[in-house]
Symmetry: C2
Subunit: 241 residues, 2 copies
């Protein structure tokens, strides 16, 4: 990076991760299928991934509402995995096997454009996660998928799950930036709406296959977002990177 | 990175930053001299850097002891800067000029071996800061100096200043690792002693000019540290990177 390029950095892009940066559905199905082959478990692992993800918001809502004490996403994923394994009558896994499968969320692959796009964006902006994933999940994921985060922030560092305002505001504060100097990048309109209400700039990135071939939600931007991009390379181009 | 190399990652190196990774004394003196030229302030800026650093531990101790509420290092640096400017009769700075100089700590240069050493270490280990610097200070520093951190952790994310145990233990916890799977890397024996007492592995890196040509402390390891290295390239070699 040239000295001139360095001095042009005066803001941050804050990223939703699950669905926006990485393809959780394919990754969970892949690791499930691997487990199934090893242990003789015959399930539709894409459907299993969908079921696991469907339990995600309700579990976080128990934390947001105060029904249960703070716990990180790995722990919520594990509660939900235990529910699903019981539902499907899977009872032959050791603790190590169950824990390893639970951490499939640490091993998700980036969408094909994501790393190249982030590398370009990194020359001009601070890149931070603003995710409900816990720090170790996001760090392990980034190390494996080579995601060039400058900071791994979100629910665990803020002590609040999106869309609670504290998740966004504390992340901006830790970056030393007013919300107006942060742009939330997400494939989900709800995340952008919550960020925009707090002063963040917003970029919607289309991920029309996040929920598989029959996706019906978040296919189009539904707010007056600052940018709408086809993928991270398109976003980089629109932002002059 | 090859798939095999990725799978060899099973622990983290956690780094002290000021003095271990970056040369605070030269950086502060450089930015002070620049300010002095612009504003006609004639001071010994290396001595000023030493005075500023001398107020660092006492200021943190006020937080550790509970005398004052939690505040991040930028704020402690600013309190101390105001003390020093008054001590030296400097009263012609605007708020913007004072704030810019206070953030000289965000613009410190890495020791000459640091980036190349970290890049090598990064292929085998998770690299995290475990610093008393606040997140934005460390992120801005890393962006400018190209320090390849996987996670920016420390006092602000733990809510405690080293050498309080929580600073170390919460950082390991956020990385999802037992202390035994973390190695503290520092040029300061006291930092290593605090980490070792909690189960961290330890690496002492010599920085004999951190405090200038007359340095008298931390010239040699004074504990049974796991590694002693001449610099980060030597550490990388000793760790098989």
């Amino acid at each position: 990076m040239s000295a001139a390029a360095r001095h042009s950095i005066d803001g941050a892009l804050t990223f939703d991760v699950f669905g926006t940066v990485v393809d959780w559905r394919s990754g969970i199905a892949r690791d499930g299928a691997e487990l199934g082959r090893a242990k003789g478990i015959d399930l539709d692992w894409f459907a299993f991934a969908d079921e696991w993800r469907a339990l995600y918001q309700p579990a976080m809502e128990r934390v947001r509402s105060g029904e249960i004490a703070w716990c990180m996403l790995d722990d919520l994923h594990r509660m939900n995995l235990d529910i699903l394994l019981a539902r499907h009558g899977v009872d032959g896994l050791t603790e190590d096997e169950t824990d390893h499968f639970n951490r499939a969320w640490h091993r998700l692959d980036a969408w094909p454009d994501a790393v190249a796009g982030l590398d370009r964006l990194s020359e001009k902006f601070i890149l931070a996660t603003l995710s409900n994933g816990n720090v170790s999940l996001l760090v392990n994921m980034a190390k494996r998928a080579r995601l060039p985060w400058d900071a791994v922030l979100g629910a665990e560092t803020a002590g609040a799950y999106k869309p609670q305002p504290r998740a966004y505001l504390r992340s901006a504060e830790m970056l030393g930036l007013a919300p107006e100097r942060c742009m939330m990048v997400a494939a989900h309109n709800g995340d952008l709406a919550a960020a925009a209400a707090l002063g963040f700039k917003t970029a919607f990135v289309r991920r029309p296959h996040e929920y598989g071939p029959g996706q019906t939600t978040d296919l189009e931007p539904d707010g007056a977002w600052d940018f709408t991009a086809e993928d991270f390379l398109d976003l980089a181009a629109q932002l002059g990177c």
